[in-house]
Subunit: 281 residues, 3 copies
């Protein structure tokens, strides 16, 4: 998949630098012609957001900001999953020190992505539940391939999407759509997501999704980059500040939640179900 | 009307308990099969929200929360009026002690309904101006029977919808629609309300409206109820907190308003008009 | 243009008083029949918002409030420009005392227009970029003549629309539309503006635009004016308060911005370009 993508980009867009080191869970490729960086999540099988993937995402975002890239396109190396969201193993029978580091890193990574100075777009080439949807809605634009689903489905799993997941969701959806979907834990198909505004465009393949994301980033070609980034950050300031002001409370709330026996029991049952599903396949 | 409804529900949904005492202004019926409670306002002729109806609404909401019902459907025993809003007699030549109790109870009842832990829906089977619209927009879903009207028409009566009426309105309508309608005191027909998003569906009868509300509540069947209610309450937290923080000021503002001679004069003229209208009929 | 308009209004609406003094940059005409005031910006060639025009706008708004007019329609004496926005000469090589007075007046004028107690509408009879768009979106209704453009295009000029420009923009557009347009510095054609909700109606001429604005103001005919204005001001209170609380910081931010050599250089190049363009014509 990545190879095909590389060939296509090389064919259409000229030379490209592969920046990231190979032992990371993310790769960053900058197209030298367009100046746009493709940030690919590469933690098989489902891009579960564990501490290390979140750390690598953060350092890749920093890298792209530092490289003065013209934009950032977030995508996945999997042909069917954009990101399955938070890695449940980080929450099941957790080591509390690691759990604390995990959640703090999630906050850190979100602040970097949602507040990023460069234009951001998500090429959603697979399912994108929960934390996957958070990443997608934290970008400025979303292009999605058909026959996948996206949404904040936390309530389906007995969990509560934090306030800042809601902020990112509300930056895209009207209030009444957002509340209903959050309460239902609704997963939208690609077509439903387009209709409701959760995504901006559809594309028939990952390659086309990336091209459409690049076209969106291209709309900023004649815009002063500093003015653009300060405008974006001012627009998002209240949402960003709300988490910054409440990071400690937000962390404590999460630690309290994962320490609940009922949640642990639920996660245990869920993981058992996953194992059986895998065995059957 | 209620009888027909009862027969139909019994026919379609099996046994049902009638919980509330008969001398209340509200009734609560829980469908034992679906676990959904129907909360009916029953203060003829127009379900004017006076102190007693607001108290009974609050205790019925508490009852439903306590019974672990699967959901709450708010409706009216009148065939033409959902609720005509605040009872003007509570504001005309008021006893200030009762007036204080009245407004405090309105706040209390709204906090309970808007922040309710169970899924809520309104089967709007009649006109729903002002306070009636507040109750409807404080639910999570609205199904309305044709040929009625709904809206916050306070400015038409020389009054100002409080900030928290606006919050509930804004949880449903886009900002520009909400502001214009509030300033105009606009009443929407069922069809207009559907088009603008003030209601979610129409239904040809009260029974069908209740069925559609029950179907909406049914969408939460596979959702963890605790996660759902905490998600809803977090989503609505800022609106709820705004009133909680300002309850005293909000009460004083109301008491100041009703003590204005101009308002009293206006209410007097309005009530005279109502009397003449009734005589003519 | 103004003359034609006058004849038409006189023909259709009876006697009209011209209130403002002739040496002002704005005129106020009150239609004695409808009680609606037309506030015309008249600073050729482009209604650049300099200190004096902003002062005259503010005093005209005050005049209209004081005259108990039934409404305010904001328009332009130019056949092609509603307002080109802030006068760049106020920012290029600025005298800091005047610059301070300029920005403070802009704040003052906006607070008066956005918080105006009378119904407000904009008859947008020409291009309306940046500050022009701010004025238009601060009104309660917008009717626009075809083949013009409107938008907050600050980022195209290397500038940042202040928070309160964003508030007025967000009072009209959904959040995702508003953010994208702000970041892109997008100018909408009349048709695009209608589709996205940035304007409410189109009209084939200035006269028709004024008629449609008057029709909007007419929807308040049966509404209590005091209740209406208190409702509007309560609805807009948070936006107004945000600037009131931050006026000093907002001013300092502007003064810091205009003192940046990069901005001065950019403005210089822009002004050179304008001069050449004028010479060519």
């Amino acid at each position: 998949m990545l190879h095909t993508n590389l060939s296509r980009l090389l064919a259409s867009g000229g030379p490209k630098r592969l920046i990231s080191t190979v032992n990371k869970l993310t790769t960053v490729e900058v197209n030298d012609k367009t100046g746009i960086a493709i940030l690919t999540m590469n933690r098989p099988p489902v891009n579960g957001l564990n501490l290390e993937l979140l750390q690598d995402l953060k350092s890749s975002i920093d890298e792209i900001e530092g490289n003065k890239s013209r934009g950032l396109i977030l995508t996945s190396s999997s042909p069917t999953i954009f990101s399955a969201g938070l890695d449940i193993l980080e929450m099941y029978k957790p080591d509390m020190d690691r759990c604390r580091a995990f959640w703090s890193q999630l906050q850190e990574t979100w602040l970097a992505l949602y507040g990023s100075s460069v234009p951001t777009a998500a090429a959603i080439n697979g399912h994108s539940p929960a934390g996957g949807c958070l990443l997608a809605t934290s970008c400025e634009y979303r292009v999605m391939v058909p026959k996948f689903t996206i949404g904040l489905n936390e309530t389906q799993l007995g969990m509560i999407a934090p306030q800042w997941f809601m902020s990112a969701f509300l930056s895209v959806l009207p209030q009444r759509e957002a509340e209903r979907a959050l309460n239902q834990g609704r997963m939208f198909t690609t077509e439903e997501a387009l209709r409701v505004g959760l995504i901006d465009e559809t594309a028939n393949s990952k390659e086309e999704a990336i091209e459409k994301c690049a076209a969106f980033i291209g709309t900023f070609a004649k815009v002063n980059p500093l003015a653009r980034s300060l405008t974006k950050q001012q627009f998002r300031a209240a949402d960003l500040q709300q988490l910054k002001n409440g990071r400690k409370e937000d962390l404590e709330k999460f630690l309290f939640t994962v320490s609940q026996p009922a949640l642990q029991k639920g996660l245990g049952i869920y993981l058992e179900g996953l194992k059986k599903k895998v065995k059957k396949q």
